[in-house]
Symmetry: none
Subunit: 120 residues, 4 copies
DNA sequence: GTGGTCTAGACCACC
DNA sequence: GTGGTCTAGACCACA
């Protein structure tokens, strides 16, 4: 995994998003065990507390749950994951549209160019 | 302007992209003067040399030109800017598609969801 | 190699030219490996960054290419080299004519004297 | 005047050559007074002693002469100047041929390319 | 050990 | 005050 951060958003949110991405894309399938916080933190070169916070958020969203003595696991509830996946996608889309608007593209132009690009 | 950087790409390339974004979106219209290197560098909190490198690249791409003692200016050639704008957009689109694919969306699903999201 | 610089032109351009000269004259044949940046820099007694800049320009001109972890190599494309060789020669010629003009020789006189000198 | 030096030749010889160039090209016509050593040295940003040496050489070659109390003058002997001009030219030519050879051009190729370049 | 990037700080030419 | 160049020195990714 390639951990990358932007300087203008809280790191824990970005961590959350990137871990979420791994969950919905199946890197960590439903029910699987997540690596220990310390390992993840080391890999991402962030403070374990920061990563802790990211995981707590995921827990709050019912995407991971904690088994006191054995670690953290991805939820077995496929629906939750599907829902998260969709939210993540919508978020990406909104961000994308905003970025295109920043360049000077209207939504219609964006869709048109997107379809044209895909065909090539 | 909000200068933000990702940790996994050279800063000078990101600077180049963000300045380009301001040019194509009309923040710096064709023929207008760019702020002095040192000012931009201070604003983005990077070393002047790094920003210099970014601007040199833009100059190589004929998007800005230099008047040695008076400063840097956006090219008056609207076509160059339009071309750059399109390239930037296509780049964004490809990146977007890749990101959606990373979540698990095919191109068709992406377009469908995009259109649906836009309607709402 | 004898590294020599003039005081009135950027060193990195002179480095570029001198390395180019070695490429077109076969000191570094097509496909051969160039010495590491640091070695070349030490040899020419310039800062590695300055030499880096010179090599980047040669790379932009497609005369050398980089293999990130193993080093820089001269392009295998003989045509690029031939083209560069010709450009270098024309440059030399123009400079020569200009110098002769500075002494007070017209182009015709220059050619005449050149042919005469060669015969002797 | 633009004073420029190469790092691999004695500066006094380069000074000599550049002053000579000004004499043969008429910047300092026969019989005219040269600026004081100190002024020339300041202009070229070299030590007055170095410039002194250059002028002594020119004097030895009978191209300038010294009037003890009033300064240095260019010789009135037009023939000396013509001779020096020719020598300078031949020197340039030899240097030029050597440089072209360094790139990989034979004398014949050099002349051919020179004539072709001139026509364009 | 390789190239690549970045910072800090200096000096230069030009107007 | 403007851009341009250069140095010194550091750190990084990659293999």
């Amino acid at each position: 995994m390639n951990w990358s951060f932007e300087t203008d958003r809280p790191i824990y949110l970005q961590l959350k998003e990137q871990i979420l991405r791994m969950i919905v894309s199946g890197v960590y399938p439903p029910g699987s065990k997540l690596p220990p916080v310390r390992d993840l933190a080391a890999e991402a070169s962030v403070n374990p507390n920061t990563l802790q916070k990211a995981l707590s958020e995921l827990e709050r969203d019912s995407l991971v749950y904690t088994q006191r003595t054995s670690g953290r696991y991805v939820t077995e509830d496929g629906n939750m994951i599907i829902k998260a996946k969709k939210e993540l996608a919508v978020e990406q889309i909104e961000l994308f549209i905003k970025k295109m608007a920043g360049i000077g593209y209207t939504v219609e132009e964006t869709i048109a160019l997107l379809e044209k690009t895909v065909k090539e």
